[in-house]
Amino acid sequence: MPGTPESENPVITMSFSVEGRDFKASGEPSRRIKRTLEQIGLDWSVVRRASVVFYEAEMNIVIHARRGTLRAEISPGRVVMVAEDEGPGIPDVALAMREGFSTAPAEIREMGFGAGMGLPNIKKHSDSMEIETEVGKGTRVVAVINVPRAGGAKTRGG
C-alpha cells in the first residue's frame, strides 16, 4: 500500500472502562487487547510482554481503584499502555516499585492477587514506564513496548 509515511504508521486505539473490585469481568479487556495484537501479527515476544503489562495494569485498577480506564495504542512500531484511575493514588512510588511490596488488602491476597508484583512486572516487561499519581485522586501509568525491528516478512519495506 503506497502512501505517505503517516498512512504507513496507523494507530489502533482500544479503550475499556474497568470497575474496582469487579473480579468477574476482570481480565477481559487484557484478553481482547492480546487477541488484537495477535490478529495484527506483532512478534510473539511483544504479545507476551504486552499481555503481562496490560493484565497487571488492569488488575491494579481492579484491586486498588474505584474505577478507571485501560487504553491500548497499537502501531506497527510500538504498543502503548495507558491506565488511568480514580483511586487512592500511590503515596510512595519508589516503595510501590519494589518487588513484593503490596498494599492490597488481605482478602485480595487470599485470591492470589496483590503479591506486590504489579508495577515491577509492568516495568520489567516494558521498555519505558511513567507513573503520575496524586494521593486521594488517582494514578496514571503509561508503559511503552517497542516492537523489535527484526528482519522477515513482518517488517518489510521501510
Partner: protein
C-alpha cells in the same frame, strides 16, 4: 493430505450441518459450508471435542486397522495406561495384557512403564536444568498443538522430553530386536490409543521428523476384541511389569503424582487448559514448576476413543493400580540415568509455532483489517447463533475481513436487507410515470370546485 495430517475427519453423509461442533471447537477451526462441516486444517489440534459434540456421529478419528499387523514380522502392542481403566476389577492388569496377545500381537510393552521412565526424566530435568517456569507437560499432543496454534509464546515452556507413547515404542523395539534378532524395521509398534491426537502425533510428530510408533489403533476397537479373551488359558512368562504409578497416568493427576517434584499444577479438559495457559501467558503461575495439562476431561480415560465412561474408568484405574501395588518402576535408576544422558528422552527439534490468528502477513494491512473487524462486529447482532456457519459473530466478522464470508451470511443481516429492499420495492411500485397517473377522483373534484369558484 495437505500440509497437516489430521486424525479427526468428517463423514459428509452423516453431517447435518448443525452448529454443535463449531460451537465447541477450542480453536474455532470449523465452519459449516454448503450444509456440511468444514475443518480449517491449520487450526485443528485434533483434540476430539467435535467427535464428542456431534449428535450424528459424523466426526470420527482416523485410526489404523488391525490388518496392518501383517506388514511386520513381529508386532508389539503398546497399551496406553488408560486401557486398564476399561476393565472392571473382576479382571487383572496381567489378564488384560494377555488378552492383547490373543488379539494377534506377538508381544506387549506397557506404555505405563515408559511413563514411569518419562516421569524420571522430567524429575531429573527439573532438578538439573535451567528452565522457564512453569514447565508444561508434553504428554498430551492436543495440548502441545493447542500451544502451537493459540499460545506460541509458551512453546519454550514445554518440557523437551518425548511422550510416554514415543519412549515406549523405542524401548519396545529395542527389547523386541534383542529378543528376536530382527532389525527394528521389521518390528511393528502399535499404540492402543484413547484419542485422535495420538494418531496425529504418530503420523506427524512435532518434536522429531518421524515417530517410532508404526500404527495407532482405536482403544474401543481393541477393547471389543480383547474383552472376549480375558479368561483364555495362557502359558508363558508374566507380561505385566509396570508400576502402579505408571498405570495412574491414565487419569488426570497421575502424571503429577509420579513426577512428584516441586510445585505442581494439573488441569484437564481443553477449555480449562486454555484458561490456565492464558494465566501463564499473563505472567501468573510463575511459582509453578510443572504443569500437567490434558485435553480430555478426566485425563486420557476421557478420550474420545475410549469405550468406558471416565468416571467408571477412574475407579477401574485405581483398582488396577492397587492390584499391582507399589512395586519399583521396571528400570533401575542407574539405567535411567544412562538413558537420560544418552539423550533418548529428548525431542530432536524445537516445536515450531503455527500462528493462525494474524489477519494479514503485512502488519499495516492487518491493522486496517482489525479496524474493519471491530466495525463489522458492532454491526452484527452478537447473538452468536451460528446460523451463518461461523461459531460466533466475532468469528464471522473475522471470516468477512479475511474474505471467507459475507455480511449477508448473517440471517439477521440478510433479513434486514430483505426488509429494506421490500420497503424500497413497495415505494417504487407505487411510483407511476405522470403520463400513466390515474386522476384522483376527490382531488379532481376539488380541483373542479376550485375552478368553479374561481
Amino acid at each position: 493430505m495437505g500440509r497437516y495430517f489430521h486424525s479427526v475427519t468428517l463423514d459428509r453423509d452423516k453431517c447435518k450441518g448443525c452448529t454443535n461442533c463449531i460451537k465447541r471447537c477450542p480453536t474455532e477451526a470449523i465452519r459449516v459450508r454448503e450444509g456440511k462441516a468444514v475443518i480449517f486444517e491449520e487450526r485443528c489440534v485434533d483434540c476430539g471435542e467435535c467427535i464428542r459434540a456431534c449428535p450424528n456421529h459424523a466426526k470420527s478419528a482416523l485410526t489404523d486397522k488391525l490388518d496392518r499387523l501383517s506388514e511386520f514380522d513381529y508386532t508389539v502392542a503398546l497399551p496406553a495406561p488408560s486401557f486398564y481403566g476399561q476393565f472392571r476389577r473382576t479382571s487383572t492388569p496381567e489378564a488384560v495384557l494377555r488378552a492383547l496377545l490373543a488379539v494377534g500381537f506377538d508381544d506387549v510393552h506397557e506404555v505405563a512403564s515408559a511413563a514411569s521412565a518419562v516421569a524420571y526424566a522430567v524429575r531429573t530435568y527439573i532438578r538439573r536444568g535451567e528452565y522457564k517456569k512453569p514447565l508444561i507437560s508434553s504428554a498430551c499432543p492436543a495440548v502441545v498443538r493447542l500451544i502451537q496454534v493459540r499460545f506460541p509464546s509458551l512453546l519454550d515452556h514445554i518440557v523437551p522430553i518425548e511422550s510416554p507413547m514415543e519412549i515406549a515404542a523405542r524401548f519396545a523395539k529395542e527389547a523386541a530386536s534383542r529378543k528376536t534378532g530382527l532389525p527394528a524395521g521389521r518390528i511393528g509398534a502399535f499404540f492402543i490409543s484413547p484419542c485422535a491426537a495420538k494418531v496425529t502425533a504418530a503420523k506427524q510428530p512435532v518434536g522429531r521428523s518421524t515417530s517410532a510408533v508404526d500404527g495407532v489403533l482405536s482403544m474401543s476397537e481393541i477393547y471389543g476384541l480383547a474383552v472376549k479373551h480375558l479368561r483364555d488359558p495362557y502359558e508363558g512368562p508374566d507380561l505385566q511389569v509396570a508400576a502402579a504409578s505408571g498405570i495412574r497416568w491414565g487419569r488426570a493427576g497421575g502424571e503429577n503424582a509420579e513426577v512428584g517434584t516441586g510445585e505442581l499444577l494439573a488441569v484437564d479438559g481443553i477449555h480449562h487448559v486454555i484458561v490456565v495457559l492464558g494465566e501463564i501467558e499473563k505472567g501468573r503461575l510463575a511459582d509453578v514448576d510443572f504443569l500437567e495439562a490434558q485435553a480430555c476431561v478426566g485425563g486420557c480415560i476421557g478420550g474420545p476413543l475410549v469405550p468406558e465412561n471416565p468416571f467408571v474408568a477412574r475407579a477401574n484405574i485405581k483398582a488396577m493400580a492397587d492390584m499391582v501395588g507399589d512395586r519399583p518402576v521396571p528400570l533401575e535408576p542407574g539405567e535411567l540415568d544412562r538413558y537420560y544422558d544418552s539423550g533418548v528422552f529428548f525431542m530432536e527439534n524445537r516445536i515450531p509455532p503455527r500462528p493462525v490468528m494474524q489477519l494479514d502477513d503485512d502488519v499495516a494491512v492487518a491493522m486496517l483489517k482489525v479496524e474493519l473487524l471491530e466495525k463489522t462486529v458492532n454491526d452484527l447482532p452478537n447473538l452468536d447463533c451460528g446460523s451463518c456457519g461461523s461459531p460466533t459473530c466475532r468469528a464471522l466478522a473475522e471470516d468477512i475481513v479475511r474474505g471467507l464470508a459475507l455480511e449477508t451470511d448473517c440471517v439477521f443481516k440478510l433479513r434486514e436487507r430483505v426488509r429494506d429492499l421490500a420497503a424500497e420495492m413497495k415505494e417504487l411500485a407505487e411510483k407511476v410515470p405522470p403520463s400513466m397517473e390515474q386522476p384522483n377522483p376527490r382531488q379532481s373534484a376539488n380541483a373542479a370546485t376550485e375552478a368553479e369558484g374561481a
